[in-house]
């Protein structure tokens, strides 16, 4: 996409190109200032994170217009509840992505988007593709690290984690899509995430 190329090109915003390139401390500080009503700080927060948030929402919701709607709701929620971010409980980016993921998943599970559920079979038989072209230069290294970490998961764990996180499916749906006995997908998801956590926790 044109916009992606623009975002990846060198420019005054390269350090905050929407790919969460700002440091965790920066993001937490931007949230703190947002909580005090600082709209400029919130604009910086948006610029530093919107590519990642929008990419995730789009991945789950699929529909472009609906993804924009969800992304807007997410940022309004983040703005409104910015004072409730507690750095003791996790990073600012994780807090924001949790809100985004939940919002996207809630949207696709609501009745108005149930159409997407009909595509479940198609999604299951289509391998999950990573949209490499949209990667900003600043996140390429991080992406490479994550892709490597994913290789340490078993195929079954990786499918379960990807369908749940990137596909927005419930563990019951994941079990159906992968032909697993009911109830086993949640174990698969947890085991996969633990592996991912442990691998990513080791400095590259």
């Amino acid at each position: 996409m044109m916009e992606d190329m623009t975002a990846a090109s060198p420019g005054p915003r390269t350090s905050v190109s929407g790919g969460a390139a700002a440091s965790p401390a920066d993001l937490a500080e931007l949230l703190r200032r947002s909580a005090r009503g600082d709209e400029a700080a919130f604009a910086d927060l948006y610029d530093a994170t919107s590519r990642r948030v929008f990419g995730l929402v789009l991945r789950i919701v699929r529909d472009h217009a609906m993804s924009e709607e969800v992304t807007q709701e997410v940022y309004l929620d983040v703005w409104r509840s910015s004072a409730r971010f507690d750095p003791a409980r996790g990073s600012a980016l994780s807090w924001l992505m949790t809100i985004a993921h939940r919002a996207a998943v809630d949207r696709v599970r609501s009745s108005e988007a149930s159409r997407r559920r009909d595509d479940a079979h198609a999604a299951a038989t289509r391998p999950v593709e990573f949209d490499e072209t949209s990667e900003a230069a600043t996140t390429a290294l991080e992406a490479q690290r994550v892709r490597k970490a994913l290789l340490t998961l078993t195929e079954a764990q990786r499918s379960a984690v990807e369908l749940a996180y990137l596909g927005g499916y419930t563990h019951t749906e994941v079990a159906g899509l992968l032909g697993l006995p009911l109830g086993t997908a949640k174990t698969r998801i947890r085991d996969g995430l633990i592996r991912l956590r442990d691998t990513l926790g080791v400095p590259a």
């Binding site: 929407g18 919107s50 590519r51 929008f54 984690v161 563990h171 949640k186 947890r190 995430l193």
Partner: protein, 249 residues
């Protein structure tokens, strides 16, 4: 409680639990430190996947987000949150007989924030219609000299809340609303800035999808009005996620 509950941490971290499981696990999280810590770690790991599929949103989205926040005041820090958690952790703390908080306050507030950004405005008072003897109770609220309205959309449903601080009343009008399922009813709530909900009566949708009601009780102290689906007869406090939330100024 089921010992299996701990194993839901991974599925919870990626929002893969269905609604009922999510709620029971969230209850478990409020009392299980190990699961809280694990969910935080596994969420981090899961969110790292988002780096693989970044996409640039249109510039118009940035414009509307920034226009949206300009109309919404950030909430104050949630002091009661941590005190509630520590009270739950400490078995010596007696459980206070207070009205329960909304279980998913953030859902309400997110919806309210979105609604506030969509439409907040005053209704112009019309002198030629203001004192008509045929005004319904709802219309009396709508025609108050300080009346304001908030409109919220959810799927095909449109809800409009009219309220008057001077009259200390509010009224809701809905269109496109399906009838409540068998054995259920739509219940109305005033939500305070402390996120405590107080029942404000019921709402019935007709066969044409239209419904209206003047809320029971005054709007004083409320920062939002919400609608939930409750068992017939209503609940003391919301037992389900709101289907509509409207922030009031």
């Amino acid at each position: 409680m089921s010992p299996d509950l701990h194993h839901l941490s991974g599925a919870y971290a990626v929002d893969a639990l269905d609604r009922a499981e999510r709620e029971s696990f969230e209850h478990h999280l409020s009392v299980c430190d190990a699961c809280r810590a694990e969910v935080a770690e596994l969420s981090d790991a899961a969110h790292s996947l988002a780096v693989l599929g970044e996409a640039t949103p249109p510039a118009s989205l940035r414009t509307s987000v920034l226009a949206g926040i300009a109309q919404v005041r950030p909430l104050p820090p949630l002091v009661t949150d941590s005190s509630l958690v520590s009270a739950a952790d400490d078995p010596s703390t007696p459980v206070a007989p207070v009205v329960p908080l909304f279980r998913r306050a953030s859902t309400w507030l997110a919806a309210a924030a979105a609604a506030a950004a969509i439409a907040v405005g005053g209704i112009a008072w019309s002198p030629w219609s203001g004192d008509a003897p045929t005004l319904s109770a709802v219309q009396q609220v709508e025609r108050a000299d300080d009346a304001a309205t908030v409109t919220s959309h959810k799927g095909a449903v449109t809800a409009t809340l009219a309220y008057s601080r001077r009259l200390d009343r509010s009224a809701i009008t809905v269109a496109g609303m399906p009838p409540a399922p068998d054995g259920k009813t739509y219940q109305l709530w005033y939500v305070g800035s402390d996120e405590v909900a107080r029942s404000a009566g019921f709402l019935t949708a007709g066969a044409d999808g239209h419904g209206e009601a003047v809320l029971e009780g005054g709007i004083d102290g409320a920062s939002a009005v919400g609608v939930t689906v409750e068992p017939t007869g209503g609940s003391q406090a919301p037992t389900t996620d709101p289907i509509m939330v409207m922030a009031v100024a």
